[in-house]
């Protein structure tokens, strides 16, 4: 397939793996402990496991699966708000597919749908707006979720709704931004990351400049990476080359998609419609200042939080879950107390087990080759 197969060429992958091994030999730290590289984006986690890249990398590299899956960091209280919205009479609640099974404190959206709530999966916020046009007698709420990758499309949709004078459409905004989150991880006292694979899709919107502080203030290399296997391998090699050379810079491996200055039209729409929230709660990470956005006053009529009464409760994560430690790279998924036993993709306790981009779900689905038998015999029986 043109523009895809070129980035999955086994011969080029072998060359890059050779390059990675050559760089590793140059880095003294590797003799003491494995190098910890964080791939910020859930898309990278997915690619690493889907193509078996983790099994190809030398043991001197430990990949830490970062907070870049927006579904995984959605706090339970916000899921409860979604369910409450969906269960209001007259509402059509629209969402992307992957939040459907994220557990709330009482139920997930999938369970609410089974119980009769009108919840519909859409591929774009524009699909939700289309539903609002088709059902003027109903209130259509779009579950706005995701980093800067998806915020502009929500912004364009709100602007479109305003242009058309559509009044039965609103956004339940859970959009978050990546930079404050990386900063929170870097400020964590137990952090020992050596470098970052920067998120490709987010950077397509924000460009490469916002990552400058990671290199300048924290002296960690950052390489913005694409999502094909060769992208990821090349980005790893580039991070290692920086470490081996004693450099800490922001480099752009994904130059075919990511412009240095980002996407001006997307950024303009984003800032026109949204403003930063002072606090936003993340599952497993607690509240991170200035990490979320909400609709500006001018677009209040499209803001589901202002339009509907919501429980808006803060629900603590289940005690047994160690999602936060996994997100910060302190624990590997299989080191969590409940991984593969009480917490499985069929019965997720923590959000990281829900989405295909979640580190735990990826480990569970793809990454258990070391285990010769199923993680939990009872679990396998349940699935037959």
């Amino acid at each position: 397939m043109k523009y895809v197969d070129e980035f999955r060429d086994p011969a080029k992958a072998r060359y890059l793996l050779g390059e990675i091994n050559r760089q590793i030999e140059q880095i003294a730290t590797c003799q003491v402990r494995p190098l910890q590289l964080m791939e910020v984006c859930g898309g990278h986690t997915h690619a690493l496991f889907k193509y078996g890249i983790e099994t190809l990398l030398p043991e001197a590299i430990e990949l830490v699966h970062g907070p870049g899956c927006p579904v995984c960091v959605l706090p339970m209280g916000r899921v409860d708000d979604c369910v409450a919205l969906a269960e209001q009479g007259g509402v059509i609640f629209t969402t992307f597919g992957d939040p459907m099974r994220v557990p709330g404190s009482r139920k997930s959206l999938a369970q609410a749908k089974a119980e009769g709530a009108d919840i519909r999966m859409v591929y774009s916020p524009l699909d939700a707006l289309k539903l609002a046009r088709q059902h003027p007698e109903r209130e259509v709420v779009f579950f706005g979720l995701g980093f800067e990758t998806t915020i502009p499309s929500t912004a364009f949709t709100v602007l479109q709704a305003e242009r058309e004078g559509i009044n039965n459409f609103s956004v339940f905004c859970n959009h978050i931004t990546i930079i404050p989150t990386i900063k929170a991880i870097l400020d964590s006292p137990d952090m020992q990351l050596d470098g970052f694979l920067g998120p490709g899709h987010v950077s397509m919107v924000i460009g490469t400049r916002p990552y400058g502080f990671i290199a300048e203030r924290y002296h960690k290399p950052v390489v913005i990476a694409g999502f094909e296997p060769l992208d990821v391998l090349q980005a790893v090699a580039m991070v290692l080359r920086q470490i081996a050379g004693g450099r800490a810079e922001v480099e752009n491996q994904y130059g075919r998609v990511v412009p240095q200055e980002g996407n001006r039209a997307a950024l303009t729409a984003l800032s026109q419609v949204f403003e930063v929230r002072e606090y936003f709660e993340w599952r497993g990470l607690g509240s991170i200042d200035y990490s979320g956005v909400r609709l500006r006053e001018r677009y209040a009529r499209y803001d589901a939080e202002r339009r509907f009464s919501l429980p808006n409760l803060k629900i603590a994560d289940p005690k047994a879950c160690q999602c936060g430690e996994v997100l910060k790279g302190i624990l590997k998924p299989r080191e969590c107390k409940v991984f593969g036993t009480a917490c499985t993709p069929e019965t997720p306790l923590g959000a990281l087990m829900v989405s295909s981009e979640g580190a735990c779900a990826a480990y569970y689905r793809f990454g258990r080759l070391q285990q010769q038998t199923p993680a939990h015999p009872q679990d396998m029986m349940d699935r037959t």
Partner: protein, 345 residues
């Protein structure tokens, strides 16, 4: 359609057991399913045992229900699915499919023209597969109680002597084969729902497979396992095999046949073709020494032109399917959890 009391839509009267129902059965079902077992319109089809016994020494008996949205899609419709799905469930035992029943649940208000298209399509699919729809039933439920039209088909076939296909028979060393491109049906349904607007729409692979199975059995009467890879796709079938036989499996990513357009759909939506539904694809586990002969037999049959050996059965890891990626890495191909959902970014 004048015989339906002037109505062009299904009413509750069509399920009431009276004249409207009788008219519907005679003008639609008997006409399109025409055969000597159905035409007397008794409450049951009567089949002579002597007609069955020359074909083998065991009956194969199966049932399945069909619900699909939309009812019509490129390459088929709910009617062809209802016939071929049950024919294929029989064929996966090595049986020659012979007779089907047809139960329909209709929504009040359904267009009779649409119903006739489905029934006609079932008649054509049955003729093409060489089976007869010999008995049936219709129920009409109030508007909203079903989505337009649901079909149940039950099938009866005869298994030849000496054929013993069972999912627990997979053994280390056996070869794993599929008869062609994976995921065409799943991609066709996604496309038919209008979400993608592809330039080159994918057609469903809906087709009967018993002719192909007969050709494969002629090449190797000792086929160990067969299953049609419908919902859950090839990955789910293989996981069922490894658990039943307590073996492992190793697939080669580079050998998996996937149509370019289907790969494209999967790339766009974050889906995996190994899990996409098929309606005319089977997975076969055969002794290694027979693999090439079975593959040749597959490829010489119209339903298996793109057949491929995709991997082998291994002793370990027991109960797991492992994919060797084209890059040289490995990953587990697990049972599907829930349904495949598109990723947000």
């Amino acid at each position: 359609m004048n015989s339906h009391q002037g109505s062009r839509h299904i009413t509750l009267a069509h399920g009431g057991g009276g004249k409207a129902m009788r008219d519907l059965i005679e003008t639609l079902f008997v006409r399109h399913f025409h055969n000597p077992w159905l035409t007397p319109l008794e409450d049951q089809a009567r089949i002579g045992l002597g007609e069955l016994s020359p074909g083998g020494n065991r009956l194969a008996f199966t049932t399945d229900s069909f619900v699909v949205d939309p009812l019509f899609f490129p390459g088929g419709d709910i009617g062809t699915l209802a016939v071929n799905g049950t024919v294929n469930d029989l064929a996966m035992s090595g049986a020659q499919p012979l007779y089907l029943s047809c139960g329909m649940i209709l929504e009040e208000g359904l267009s009779i023209t649409l119903l006739e298209e489905v029934v006609e399509s079932m008649g054509r699919a049955a003729d093409a597969a060489g089976v007869s729809i010999v008995t049936g039933d219709i129920k009409v439920v109030p508007r909203g109680a079903v989505d337009k039209l649901f079909i149940n088909t039950t099938g009866l076939g005869v298994i030849p002597e000496g054929v013993h296909i069972a999912s627990h028979r997979a053994q280390p060393g056996d070869a794993i084969l599929v008869n062609g491109f994976m995921g065409d049906h799943g991609a066709a349904i996604v496309d038919a729902r209008g979400d993608l607007a592809l330039d080159n729409p994918v057609e469903s692979d809906c087709q009967p497979l018993h002719g192909l199975v007969a050709a494969m059995l002629a090449a190797c009467p000792d086929i160990h396992c067969l299953r049609d890879a419908t919902r859950g796709g090839v990955a789910t079938v293989l996981n069922e095999f490894v658990q039943a036989a307590q073996v492992g499996m190793r697939l080669e990513e580079a050998s998996l046949p996937v149509r370019e357009t289907v790969r494209g759909v999967c790339e766009i939506l974050g889906l995996d073709p190994l899990y996409l539904a098929n309606e005319g694809k089977l997975v076969a586990i055969v002794p290694a020494e027979a693999a090439e002969a079975v593959l040749a037999a597959m490829r010489s049959h119209p339903a298996g032109r793109e057949g491929a050996i995709i991997g082998e059965v291994t002793a370990v890891p027991e109960g797991r399917v492992v994919l060797a990626t084209a890059l040289g890495g490995e990953r587990i191909v697990d049972m599907l959890v829930g349904e495949q959902l598109p990723r947000i970014c």
